[in-house]
């Protein structure tokens, strides 16, 4: 039941969105953060064959079955996380980037992320003044079970604080910011380690950006019916 083939016609010179009928799995191996279990990963391959041409394109990605929930604890003000229904005590490391000249090698990512796992950490937070980390970073977080808290590119020190106040309305081009944010989400969204998007560091983005990010990242109503029971 884990193979499916569908017939789809795509009009000339156009782009369409297509959703497969859902694939059913009985008790798949779940992906767990470091220290809670295995980081089980499945390989998902999507391909397109065009009549009269043959294979036209294919794509593959590691995928982990996991459900991450988090909310603010009203008593402490802290954020509580659950993975696959189980509460998790977060032990995290702060991350900006592995090299200031962006010599971002896979080997360096591998070594640094394994080091975080070896330190018994289960989360890495990517600071808003730095990068949205690269797929290679996320790949090794998937492998070693490091949840990722990814911030967008807003910081209090450059957007909103100081005398005189620094860039109170954030970046000049809000549409460009949102375009980059949406593109980044599409780049990284299939990684099981991706746990939380945050607007910025120590600062709420300008209201229109914040509202757009919250709306775009809202859980689709179709998936709100998903439940453990």
């Amino acid at each position: 039941e884990h193979i499916q083939s569908q017939k789809v016609s795509v009009p000339a010179g156009s782009t369409i969105q297509y959703t497969f009928p859902q694939l059913y799995f009985y008790k798949p191996n779940l992906w767990w953060p470091n220290g809670m279990g295995k980081q089980s990963l499945y390989n998902v391959v999507i391909s397109i064959d065009v009549e009269g041409f043959g294979e036209s394109d294919s794509w593959n990605h590691h995928f982990g079955f996991r459900k991450i929930e988090s909310d603010i604890d009203t008593a402490t003000g802290g954020r509580l996380f659950k993975v696959n229904g189980q509460p998790i005590f977060i032990r995290g490391g702060n991350w900006i980037l592995s090299d200031g000249l962006l010599r971002l090698s896979e080997k360096r990512y591998h070594t640094d992320i394994k080091f975080h796992a070896d330190m018994n950490f289960n989360m890495i937070r990517c600071w808003g003044g730095g990068l949205a980390e690269r797929p290679e970073f996320y790949h090794y977080c998937d492998i070693y079970g490091l949840l990722v808290w990814q911030e967008f590119w807003i910081t209090g020190d450059v957007d909103g604080r100081g005398v005189p106040v620094s860039n109170p309305n954030g970046p000049l081009d809000h549409d460009l910011f949102l375009l980059c944010a949406r593109d980044t989400v599409k780049l990284l969204r299939n990684h099981p380690s991706l746990a939380l998007w945050v607007g910025g560091n120590e600062q709420v983005p300008p209201p229109d950006i914040n509202a757009a990010l919250k709306k775009d990242l809202e859980l689709h109503p179709h998936f709100q019916t998903s439940s453990e029971n």
């Binding site: 193979i3 569908q6 789809v8 016609s9 795509v10 000339a12 010179g13 782009t15 369409i16 969105q17 297509y18 959703t19 497969f20 694939l23 059913y24 799995f25 008790k27 089980s40 990963l41 499945y42 390989n43 998902v44 391959v45 999507i46 391909s47 397109i48 064959d49 065009v50 041409f53 036209s56 394109d57 794509w59 990605h61 995928f63 079955f65 459900k67 229904g85 900006i96 200031g100 000249l101 962006l102 971002l104 003044g129 990068l131 690269r134 590119w153 020190d157 450059v158 860039n167 954030g170 970046p171 081009d173 375009l179 980059c180 944010a181 593109d183 299939n190 998936f223 439940s227 453990e228």
Partner: protein, 264 residues
């Protein structure tokens, strides 16, 4: 050469030169006057993916800024002007297409904007450090299969100035752009002199047939205490041809049991 559905990284063989030291146009560089390295040539081996400063460090034109106080010896973009860190990047790649095939040239990130020339044809890449660009270059491939690519990379629009006392994000000008903000210096980081200008992430080519897969999205839902689980897969399909494409769209999920043995 990329197979259908696979990408080939263009991460070696790049050259770079300061734009003010190159008198040729992008069209000339990618047709009649491809650059080469020589004693009187402004071109040097480039770090791609990487930054302009990374290229200069690689060629020992400037010292590595992360040793001692060496960063102080490198001129800051506020003093040099943006042109100083505006650089050409150049490479070649092999590709021949069959009928109905398409080739995309993909940039996973450039800081901050760029002009792309391929075999004499120009494309302009818009601003923004954190966005991907995918250009269909099928129509401009050379028949002999050797293709010339030049990219003129511009620094951020607002590189800012570093105050004498330093501080979090320098004079905060960088915050006006959609770019990394640490590059004007922070309490943990010296200012990055070129503000990380460059082709800082992967460049690749990918070959497809008439229909291309764009940004699949995988989501799972769980029921009955994680016994009953569904995988939802959505994708965009772009038909680049001038005829209706009847497609068979396939999804397959496997898990590796041991070594190269997979369970389907």
């Amino acid at each position: 050469m990329a197979e259908i559905g696979k990408k080939s990284k263009l991460n070696s063989g790049w050259l770079a030169a300061r734009s003010t030291e190159v008198e040729l146009s992008g069209a000339q560089l990618t047709t009649t006057h491809p650059p080469s390295i020589g004693p009187s040539s402004p071109w040097m081996e480039a770090a791609v993916p990487g930054t302009v400063l990374g290229t200069l460090v690689k060629n020992k034109v400037v010292p590595d800024p992360f040793y001692g106080l060496q960063n102080e010896t490198i001129i800051d973009i506020a003093d040099s002007g943006r042109e100083y860190y505006t650089f050409w990047f150049f490479t070649t790649f092999q590709c021949k297409l069959s009928e109905s095939q398409h080739l995309d040239l993909n940039f996973r990130a450039i800081n901050y904007s760029a002009e792309v020339y391929i075999n004499g044809h120009q494309k302009v890449l818009p601003k923004g450090m954190f966005r991907r660009h995918s250009l269909d270059v099928s129509d401009v491939m050379r028949p002999d299969g050797t293709n010339l690519l030049a990219v003129l990379v511009h620094p951020p629009d607002h590189p800012g100035r570093i105050p004498a006392q330093g501080g979090q994000g320098g004079d905060h000008e960088i915050g006006k752009d959609v770019a990394a903000q640490y590059v004007e210096g922070w309490d943990w980081m010296a200012p990055i002199r070129d503000r990380n200008t460059g082709i800082w992430d992967e460049v690749s080519i990918s070959r497809t047939g008439p229909v291309k897969i764009i940004d699949p999205h995988l989501v799972s839902t769980f029921f009955d205490d994680y016994k009953r689980v569904y995988l939802h897969a959505t994708l965009e399909m772009q038909n680049k041809s001038s005829w209706v494409a009847d497609c068979s769209v396939n999804v397959q999920v496997t898990t590796e049991l041991e070594g190269n043995i997979c369970l389907v």
